[in-house]
């Protein structure tokens, strides 16, 4: 499965259209999605949907609530990817 750097890079690409263009500070793992990147809170559900599609995972509401910073989001994506990977392995004939 993807390593953390690769997931980070793919997540930031997915995030780009949602980031307010005025936010020009460097993005680190502790960067807050809503406060630092000025992501419109109403659009947050779209980021979840796009992440689900891109990484072929399911993100439940509890996990989505944990995605406050870039690092949190990567944690959730990695965690769900591992779950997904185990499920796929388990059902492989």
């Amino acid at each position: 499965m993807n390593n953390r750097e690769e997931i980070r890079s793919q997540f930031l690409a997915l995030l780009a259209p949602f980031v307010d263009r005025r936010a020009d500070q460097p993005i680190t793992e502790s960067t807050s999605l809503l406060d630092d990147l000025n992501v419109n809170s109403a659009r947050f559900v779209d980021i979840i949907l796009e992440a689900e599609e891109k990484f072929n995972i399911s993100i439940d509401d509890t996990a989505a609530d944990r995605m406050r910073t870039v690092g949190d989001a990567i944690d959730v994506i990695m965690e769900k990817s591992e779950v997904q990977s185990r499920v796929q392995t388990a059902v492989r004939p």
Binding site: P17, F18, N40, A42, R43, F44, V45, D46
Partner: protein, 422 residues
């Protein structure tokens, strides 16, 4: 009452995107109507549509990536026309514009069916298959009727009334009338007024079912829209957007803005769906009263009106519409104003038609010409008395006063009079 002038124009039309391209197309009598293979596959009777070239890209240069992904084509067309209009009026603007709120500007932007494509292709299928979660965040703003005005208001930072009106095929002209009245009564200095209809096939489907769209011309789409013609057999559905910046005389003068024309009279009435009027037809008396009221408000004598940009859709109503004009103006023969049908080139953009055709009217006034009314070489015998006033070719001529008429389902009638300021 404050005087109201037009200081900016913007347009997305089937035969021209942007006012200069549209003005050229009008001069040349260039059609924006094309055969649509998809409609043939879907068993439409009328397989011709008026759609702007490369419709999927329109609005991309004025919306941020985030706005783009949360909009449907009606909203994108509205944004494209509104931004062109705002810039044409001399205001600075760039995508993602984040200047202060303009508390003196309002937005009156209408639509007939708005985001029906979002509802039909996204909200409906996902809801009915148990996938509401996948609608994401923008289902509501694309489905709501006011999606067009909300987007335009936000783009411009308008702090006055931001509103969507909807009155079927009179929508666009009604938006302009409402905006005019807002300024005249002192509620705003500027109103970005117009209407948009998206690139969708569902409204066309409804009219196809009513058998009021043009059948029999699928093999020659540019000839399909035939207002005033003896062989007119229905309208050609179209889409697009038109925008006017209405401004108080004082505000325009203060900014040294270019003035296209002044709105000197307007009327919006309903025929009451009596005496020949119904949900789908105009009462002759309602139409005549509407025209007469607008003329009366303008203070003009009917024979001072140089030109009428008529509603004329190419259904069986065209002769009645001309008869109503002759009766309301009490003019006939060569005393009748010049009259043409912009729909002969672009089809019927439904809710947006009045707005696009008001832009066409003002571009003719600016360019000092009257565009040819296409496809009426076989003029309907019932309009013979005014034949000399129906241009078959481009006419170079100053237009000092113009009447724009729009009529819609619900027996609603909208008329506005534009005059060049003295």
């Amino acid at each position: 009452m404050k005087r109201v002038v037009i200081t900016g124009l913007g347009v997305v039309a089937p035969n021209g995107v942007g006012v200069r391209e549209f003005q050229d197309a009008l001069r040349q009598g260039r059609s924006g109507l094309r055969f649509e293979q998809r409609l043939a596959e879907l068993n439409f009777g009328c397989q011709v549509l008026g759609t702007p070239p490369s419709p999927e890209n329109i609005g991309a240069d004025v919306l941020t990536p985030q706005q783009w992904r949360a909009t449907n084509s009606a909203m994108r067309f509205a944004a494209a026309a509104a931004v062109e209009c705002w810039r044409d009026a001399g205001f600075e603007w760039h995508p993602g514009h984040d200047g202060p709120v303009d508390w003196h500007t309002a937005v009156y932007f209408g639509t007939g069916v708005g985001g029906v494509d979002s509802i039909a292709e996204k909200v409906g299928p996902l809801t009915l298959t148990g996938q509401t979660r996948r609608l994401g965040s923008s289902g509501a703003e694309q489905a709501m009727c006011s999606g067009v005005s909300a987007l335009v208001g936000g783009i411009l930072g308008a702090g006055g009334q931001v509103c969507t009106n909807s009155s079927a095929c009179a929508t666009g002209t009604e938006a302009i009338i409402n905006g005019y009245r807002l300024i005249a009564h002192g509620y705003a200095d500027r109103v970005l007024a117009g209407a948009a209809e998206g690139n969708q096939i569902y409204a066309a489907a409804c009219f196809d079912a009513m058998k009021v769209t043009a059948r029999g011309w699928n093999g020659s789409p540019e000839r399909a829209s035939r207002p005033l013609s003896a062989t007119a057999a229905g309208f050609v559905p179209a889409c697009g957007s038109g925008a006017l910046l209405l401004e108080s005389w004082e505000s325009a003068e203060h900014r040294h803005a270019k003035v296209y024309a002044e709105i000197t009279g307007a009327s919006f009435v309903c025929g009451g769906q009596r005496a020949g009027g119904s949900m789908t037809a105009s009462s002759p008396e309602g139409v005549r009263r509407c025209i007469a009221a607008a003329v009366r408000e303008s203070g003009l004598h009917p024979d001072e009106i140089d030109y009428v940009n008529a509603h004329l859709t190419a259904t069986g109503n065209d002769p009645r519409e001309v008869a109503n004009l002759r009766c309301a103006l009490q003019l006939d023969g060569d005393r009748f104003p010049w009259i043409n049908a912009t729909k002969s080139m672009i089809g019927h953009a439904l809710g947006a038609s009045g707005a696009i055709e008001c832009v066409a009217t003002l571009l003719q006034m600016e360019g000092e010409f009257i565009h040819p009314s296409m496809n009426c070489e076989d003029l309907h015998p019932a309009v013979a008395t005014v034949a000399v006033r129906i241009p078959q070719e481009y006419i170079a001529r100053e237009v000092r006063t113009a009447l724009k008429t729009s009529f819609g389902f619900g027996d609603v009638n909208a008329c506005v009079i534009f005059s060049k300021p003295n």
